[in-house]
């Protein structure tokens, strides 16, 4: 019995906190729907409770109503305007998948915002990864100030330079294979003689080197 009491005590504290927060968040929406005595959060909570029981109309109203909240949450996380749609879609799909985790006695807005924040951070991270790859290219561009990106000739020159840099960074065995077989166009037996490696090892090294270079320039294989 005493355990039950402590449990509700804790949850009461938690829901009080999250409800307080969600009231602050939903002020603009609230003013749009002034005529109803219940708060928009409570209305959405009731819709979600109905949706959990299988009420499709309540569910669709709830999802449509959630879009603005998701966009606001994503924008607060720093998601750019043209990527908000992705976050909204991902969040709606997650909401659908985990709708059984919502507890109708608690704030719907806090529940939704937590999911939207997570999806927004996921979106920012995947963008960050893409950006860092682009930044890498910019760095290459800056390090060759002669390059004039308007001319196709310099562009291909740059591409060759990047390729040379990438080859230089390969492990020694792979670099050797690319240099001998690829760049100097030696035959397998010539290369084997020059490097003192057997032809099988050279072939394997060349194959690995090409794979590594493909991954570097075209992302994941």
């Amino acid at each position: 019995m005493s355990q039950t009491l402590t449990a509700t005590g804790f949850m009461g504290l938690d829901s009080g906190l999250s409800r307080g927060m969600s009231l602050v968040r939903t002020v603009p929406v609230e003013s749009a729907a002034a005529s109803i005595s219940e708060t928009p959060d409570q209305r959405r909570a009731a819709w979600m409770a109905a949706a959990q029981a299988g009420d499709r109309r309540a569910y669709e109203k709830l999802l449509a109503d959630s879009v603005a909240l998701i966009r606001a949450a994503a924008r607060r996380q720093g998601v750019a305007q043209d990527h908000l749609d992705d976050v909204v879609q991902e969040t709606l799909i997650t909401v659908h998948r985990v709708r059984h985790t919502y507890d109708p006695t608690r704030s719907y807005d806090a529940w939704l915002t937590a999911i939207a924040n997570r999806r927004a951070i996921d979106a920012l991270r995947s963008r960050g990864r893409r950006d860092s790859r682009e930044l890498h290219d910019e760095f290459a561009l800056d390090s060759h100030p002669d390059a004039d990106d308007a001319s196709a000739a310099t562009e291909s020159g740059q591409r060759a330079q990047r390729l040379r840099e990438a080859i230089a960074e390969l492990p020694p065995g792979q670099r050797e294979a690319v240099e001998q077989l690829g760049l100097r166009e030696r035959s397998l037996s010539e290369a084997a003689e020059l490097t003192g490696r057997n032809t099988g090892a050279l072939k394997v090294n060349l194959h690995r080197a090409l794979k590594a270079l493909r991954e570097r320039f075209h992302g994941e294989p």
């Binding site: 355990q3 603009p28 959990q52 299988g54 999802l63 659908h96």
Partner: protein, 223 residues
């Protein structure tokens, strides 16, 4: 603040909302975190009863009566197990505050503090001895081998949940199961809290938490 033009324009999502609507089926709601915690503790309690039936409560009580700090350490481990499991279940519900993760801290401090104090004692707990390295290894094996099923059970109980912080949740799972295993070890432990023993306990807890953080995070992150 909010841009009124973009505020509530659900039209671009109409197709998606419609599709999700057609897929809607009634769902069974997730039980409250404290109830799921109680379910897991029931499994721990069942193991404790089995161990008590085998070893009896006398050696444990005698040890605690002679050296209260060992009793406090055991109490700390039990509190840590309960609060860490509860925090893990709470974090499995979106919208719960991340500060739930601090819940096991007081219990853990009691557990670590009292065990550390045991090392400073100059007398040895009655009916025990200071464990050798070899015997300490048994404690390591005990804690780790009991932690595996207890962690697995927690992960299974959390798979229907939606832990938005999977790694933090996994750390709590590891802490809960390691603390529960250390509590169970108290029943059949015949060693005093000497430095070697404390180090093995700490090592076991660290291993369990680290393995959970590395693997559990991946298992949970599908939510």
């Amino acid at each position: 603040m909010e841009n009124p033009e973009t505020m509530s324009d659900p039209r671009p999502y109409e197709a998606l909302i419609d599709r999700l609507g057609t897929e809607l089926v009634p769902v069974r709601r997730l039980l409250p975190p404290w109830l799921r915690t109680a379910g897991w503790l029931l499994a721990v309690a069942a193991i404790a009863v089995l161990l008590l039936m085998h070893y009896g409560a006398d050696p444990m009580l005698r040890r605690w009566a002679g050296t209260p700090d060992l009793g406090w350490a055991g109490m700390g481990a039990v509190i840590t197990a309960i609060t860490a499991a509860w925090a893990a279940f709470a974090l499995g519900v979106p919208g719960r505050r991340a500060s739930w993760a601090w819940l096991p801290l007081p219990g853990a401090l009691l557990w670590i503090g009292a065990s550390g104090l045991g090392c400073l004692r100059t007398w040895v707990a009655p009916g025990t001895q200071v464990a050798s390295m070899h015997q300490s290894a048994d404690c390591l094996v005990f804690i780790i081998s009991f932690s595996i099923p207890l962690s697995a059970l927690l992960i299974v109980l959390l798979r229907r949940a939606c832990p938005l912080r999977p790694v933090l949740t996994a750390v709590l799972i590891g802490l809960a199961s390691a603390a529960a295993s250390a509590s169970l070890l108290e029943i059949c432990h015949s060693f005093d809290a000497a430095a070697t023993d404390l180090v093995t306990h700490a090592l076991a807890v660290a291993v369990v938490v680290a393995v959970n953080a590395a693997m559990g995070g991946r298992l949970l992150s599908k939510a």
